[in-house]
Structure formats: C-alpha cells, structure tokens
C-alpha cells in the first residue's frame, strides 16, 4: 500500500484512459458529434422555417448534448456518458455566457465607433438641440474626471489608513467590527449612498447640487473597495522586513511609511485604480447629486455638473431620438474604453510590482 502511494506521489495524476478499460470513443468523436448536430440543427431550423438563428443554435446545442450522451452511454457505459454530459453542459454554459457578453461589447463598439471623433470629444451640449445632431461629451468628460478625482482624494487616504489600522494595529473587537462592516459596506447599493448624501449634504446641511456632492457619494462607495485590496496587499508584506526595521530602532509609524507601504505600493495602486474604474461607471448617486448640465462647468463645488454615465442616461431618456441614441452609444464607448484601460493598466502594474510573499 505504502509503495503505491509513493509511486502515485511522484508521477503526475494517471490518466484514466488505460488500454485495459472497455471500449472508448475515438478522440475525434466530440468534434464529429458537434459537426453532425450543427448540421442537423441547421437542417431542422431551415426546414421548420425558424427565423431566429439563436433557435438554430439552441437546437444544435441540445442535439449535441443528447447525441454525445447517447453515443457514449452505448459505447462506453453510463459513468463515462455522465462525464461527457457534464463536459458538454459546461461547454454549453461557457458558450451561453460568452454570447451576450461579447454581443454587448461588439454592439457598443459598432454603434459608438461612428460617433466618436474630435468634435464629439471636445464639445459640450450647450446650444445643441437634444433632438438634433452635433454636440459632444466634453462637459461630461470633465465632470467625470473632476468628480472621480475628488472622490479618490477623499476615499484613498481614508481607505489606506483603515487598511493600515486593520493590518498593523487592529486587534480585538473594534478591528473585527471594522472588518465586518467594511465587507458589508462593499455591498451598499449605490442608490442608497446617493440617498444618504442627499439627505445629509443637500437636504440637511442645505448645500446645493454640485459635483462635489456626487464625489461624496462616490467616495462612500470607493472606500471599502480600497480598504479590502490594500489590506490584502499589506498582509503580503513579509514580516522579516518589519522586524529588520524595528531591529534598527525605527519607530513603528516610520516603518509603516518607509518600509511596509513602499513594498506594497504596486498592489495598492492596482487596488485604487480598480476602485476608480468601478466608481467611474456609477450613475445613480451622481444623477441624484450633481444634477444635469448641458454646458461646461469647470467648478465642481458650485452649480450643476455633468458626468459620463449621467450623460448616457440623459441622451437615452429622450425616447426614440436617433441622435440622442447615437450620442449615448458614443459616450458609452468612451466610458467602456476608459474603464477597460484603467483595468488593464492596473493589472499590468499588479503583475509588474506585486510583492512576492516570503522571500
């Protein structure tokens, strides 16, 4: 017994396709069945006069699952057939999920690509008829950058300090409570954050609608995300670095500022950028708090501003207005491109400068 385990320890997991087993479908069988079922699916679809190609696809998928199960059950036995059934179901799930997600991206690019040009990017909607052509997103772009910038300036330091507290100082009941509520806060619906700022800042304290009010709500949404990711990064910093610093007589706060945070700065930057990407797309709280403006307002503390997601919403809301829809798609394309670029850069930084645990 013991010799067997040592052998299996050393060699990679044995493939269960030994020659001693019963009959087995050839390797090309799944591909063959797939081709066959697609062909039959198309024939049925065309024969029954089904207009939607999605139905053709569904019939083919169903045929594939049934055929490969039946074939395998006949040749290989029920257990192998169940295995093939699970495999084909998982492939179907994969394809089912890819279709809408890819369709979303492709459709947005298709609709938006023709709209986005220099004029669209550096003009506002001031003096442009909502039902007419022209106009652009400059005011919304500016508003988004300012509001997200302000929100980051508020949320990033607080989030970072909270993470430092949780990792370096936190013990006992307070730390546990903070951890739990940070987790719960990640799930606060954005509209609730908007309502809260509305009730405190605007209805309670009497300030007017402004970009800054929107930033406050965005900051509330951003804080827990920053705390989560920063905390994970700080925990990856090897203890030996801290101990070496203490051994040299460096005070704790200086150790944190000069040793711990610089070691984890790559991961922290990634976390903050991902959080920025998340709040950039928030619509609901901003819509309630910054109001709507068609002209450029460069002052986020005074007067209504605009914001890309709100701009999309505004352009969409004019029902059956093809110019509005076109502008909405253009803005959506710019928004997706911005968010995806942030994501890609953030993940690039993470790969480039991640702290390596334990060396």
């Amino acid at each position: 017994m013991s010799t067997t385990t040592t052998v299996s320890d050393r060699t990679p997991a044995p493939q269960l396709s030994g020659r001693l087993t019963a009959a087995k479908l050839p390797r090309w069988a799944p591909a063959g069945v797939a081709v066959l079922s697609i062909a039959v699916g198309c024939v049925i679809g065309a024969g029954a006069g089904l207009a939607s190609h999605i139905q053709w696809g569904l019939i083919s998928a169903l045929l594939f699952v049934v055929l490969s199960f039946g074939l395998s059950a006949k040749v290989e036995g029920v257990r192998q057939a169940k295995d093939r059934l699970a495999t084909s179901l998982i492939w179907v799930a994969f394809i089912l999920a890819v279709v809408p997600l890819v369709s979303l991206v492709v459709y947005t690019v298709q609709q938006g690509a023709g709209v986005v040009d220099g004029n669209f990017l550096n003009h506002s909607m001031r003096g442009v008829l909502q039902s007419g052509p022209g106009g652009g997103i400059y005011h919304a772009l500016l508003g988004t950058l300012q509001q997200v910038g302000l929100a980051t300036a508020i949320a990033a330091p607080i989030g970072l300090l909270t993470a430092v507290y949780l990792v370096e100082y936190g013990r006992g009941r307070l730390a546990k409570t903070v951890t739990f509520f940070v987790d719960v806060m990640t799930g606060v619906p954005s509209i609730v954050a908007g309502l809260f700022v509305l009730s405190v800042w605007i209805l309670g304290l009497g300030f007017t609608y402004s970009g800054f009010a929107g930033s406050l709500a965005l900051a509330i949404l951003m804080m827990p995300v920053v705390v989560r990711s920063t905390e994970e990064m700080l925990r990856l910093v090897p203890n030996e670095l801290r101990e070496a610093s203490y051994a040299l007589g460096v005070p704790k706060w200086k150790t944190i500022l000069r040793v711990v945070i610089p070691t984890a700065i790559g991961g922290i930057t990634t976390g903050v950028m991902l959080a920025v990407a998340r709040i950039t797309g928030e619509t609901a709280p901003v819509m309630m708090l910054v109001f709507v403006s068609d002209s450029i307002n460069p002052d986020p503390f005074n007067g209504p501003q605009m914001n890309l997601p709100v701009y999309i919403w505004q352009q969409y809301s004019q029902v059956n207005n093809s110019f509005g829809y076109a502008r909405a798609w253009g803005a959506a394309l710019v928004l997706i491109a911005f968010v995806m670029a942030l994501n890609l850069v953030a993940r690039g930084i993470a790969r480039w400068r991640s702290p390596k645990a334990g060396n």
Partner: protein, 339 residues
C-alpha cells in the same frame, strides 16, 4: 509587555512561529509622538467607516420615520406611490418589493448554474491556453458600467426578447406566469430585467467561485482520480463539496448586486404600480429603479418616502451581504487545513 524594549530577548519570536503574511503585532508604538499620531489617524479612519455606516442607517431611519407618520395607508401592502398628494398621501412598497425580489430571483436562477459552469470551465475543463485569457476577459466584463448594460439591454436585448416572449406565451402561457396579455408591446418587463441582471452578475459570481475552485486541495482531486473517478465524478465529489460555501457566498454577493441595481433596471423596465404575476407583461418596479425615477419630481414628503424605501433596500442588502460574509468567514477556518 508593551513597555518591553523591542530588542528584549524574551520578546523576539522566531520567524517560524508566525505564519508568513501575518504581521506580528507584538511590537507596539512606544509612546513616541509620531506613533501616537499615526495610530490615532489610522484607527480614526477605521472608526470613521463605522460612523458612516451608522449615519447611513440613522439618517434613513430618521427620514423614514417622518415619512411613515404621514402615510395614510399601510406601507407594506399599498401598491401606488403617491406621497406628495396633499389630501391623502399614500405610498407602499408592495409592488417594489415584489419586483425587486422576482427580478433578482430570475437573475439568480439563470446566473448561478451558468456561473458555476463557467468557473468550472476555467478552473478544471478548459485547455490552459484558453482558460487564462478567458478568466481575464471575465474580470474585464465585471468592470463594464451598469449604464452600458442598461443601454444595451434597452436598445438591443428588448427587441430581441420579442421572439422568446412569444414562444413562452405560446407554449407556457397556460402556467399563468408566462401569459402575455398585450401582444406586440416591447418586452420591457420583469423577465427581461431578470435576464439582464443575470448577465450583469455573471462575471462577479464566476470570478469568486473560480477563485474558490482553484483552492481545492490538489490531493483531494488526485485521490478521487486515483480511485477511478471520471472527471465529472471528481468534480462532484472533491471540487463542489469543498467549494460549496464559496459558491453560496459568491451567489449572495451577486444577489446583493442584483437587488441594488438601479440604472440598468430603470432603462429597461417600463414601470407602473401594478402588481402582476404575468412576468411577461410590462410593468412593476424595483426599489432602486423607483428611487431613480421619482426623486426628480419628489417634494419633501416624497423625498422622505423614497428614503423609507431606500431603508428597506439597505436593510435587505445588509442582511444578504452580512450573511455572505459570515459564510466566508466560517470557511476561512478550515480552508487551508488539508492543502
């Protein structure tokens, strides 16, 4: 213990006793000004987060109290939303609660099995060369803003749902739930909303469950295979039981998103204050969507009423998320045991 100098021999713990990645907290600040200030600042911001959470709950409670005292009808069972009516302010959350729960339930019923399938595909089925970029793609899709989903849902998905609606009506109309009473109307109904929400939460559920499936101890899987299990039997006996708490909490995180989604619902649904079990008929509403649509024209009582509905949503998501976190936290205790 706190006053012991850092280089005291008794205080030095060998590196091997503290697990890597768990910073030792045995060295505390020794009363230097910088240390005191830094500790105050960091614990202060921790407390600030708690204060914000408490303030959200407190302010919503306060406003809801004001709203409920003016409501002439039962808040829980009333259908219409008319808080600014001077003569008889009446509003209730029956329709909103129904719409929120039904659309989220449809989303979960569709998204969870598919997300588990994709997560298994990435972690155990796909050839490595496909799995890596695809995992990356799923993460990117999780970042697509909800307004873009909303725009796509309203302008692309709704027209394309017409065929499915007719089909469901034709073959499943007898179930009452899938009966269409106005033929030819655009599919701006709770069912479409549920499908859109499913597409939106799919990447999140997938990402979390994938991480859990990846942590399944290799030895468990190899033991199952060595006993002659097929790949599916290995997944069923080794991967899924280990990953179950992870799947549950991932689904609850997705559920939290689906419950609180605002703008995508607001673009797709054509809302009204009718509570109808005909899921394919346009109408209904959700908490978040109602707030987004009504706050613009709401007067003071109207605003308070919206805050009351926001409080209900807040409490629901708090419970869902808190539950998810508790499950994850319990899981941490045994996760690394056999790895």
């Amino acid at each position: 213990m706190t006053s012991a100098p850092p280089d005291h021999p008794g205080d030095r713990t060998p590196a091997s006793t503290t697990p890597p990645g768990q910073p030792s907290t045995s060295l505390r600040g020794t009363g230097r000004l910088g240390d005191v200030l830094f500790r105050l600042a960091s614990s202060g911001s921790g407390v600030l987060l708690l204060v914000i959470m408490a303030a959200i709950a407190g302010f919503l409670l306060y406003r809801s109290g004001m709203a409920l005292s003016q409501d002439k009808t039962n808040f829980l069972t009333t259908f219409e939303w008319d808080p600014d009516n001077i003569v008889k302010p009446s509003f209730g959350i029956a329709v909103l609660a129904f719409g929120t729960i039904v659309s989220a339930a449809i989303a979960m019923a569709i998204a969870v099995p598919i997300a588990i399938g994709i997560a298994l595909f990435i972690s155990h089925y796909a050839p490595r060369r496909i799995a890596q970029p695809f995992a990356y793609l799923v993460d990117l899709l999780a970042a697509v803003p909800s307004i873009v989903y909303g725009l796509w849902g309203a302008l692309y998905l709704v027209p394309h749902m017409a065929g499915l609606n007719d089909w469901l009506d034709h073959y499943l109309g007898w179930t009452y739930v899938f009966k269409v009473s106005q033929h030819g109307a655009p599919a701006r109904n709770l069912f479409t909303v549920g499908i859109l929400l499913a597409i939106m939460v799919l990447p999140i559920i997938t990402a979390v469950s994938r991480e859990v499936f990846r942590q399944v101890p290799r030895m468990h899987e190899e033991a199952a295979l060595a006993l002659g299990a097929t790949r599916w039997e290995m997944v069923r006996t080794a991967v899924l039981p280990f990953g179950r708490p992870g799947i549950i909490s991932a689904s609850m995180l997705g559920l939290g998103r689906a419950l609180g989604e605002t703008i995508a619902v607001a673009t797709v649904l054509s809302a009204n204050s009718k509570l109808s079990l005909h899921l394919l008929d346009a109408g209904g509403g959700t908490f978040a969507q109602n707030i987004a649509l009504k706050f613009g024209e709401a007067g003071k009582p109207g605003m308070n009423a919206l805050m009351a509905s926001g409080l209900v949503l807040f409490v629901i998501t708090l419970l869902v998320n808190g539950g998810a976190r508790l499950i994850i936290a319990r899981r941490k205790e045994y996760s690394g045991a056999n790895a």
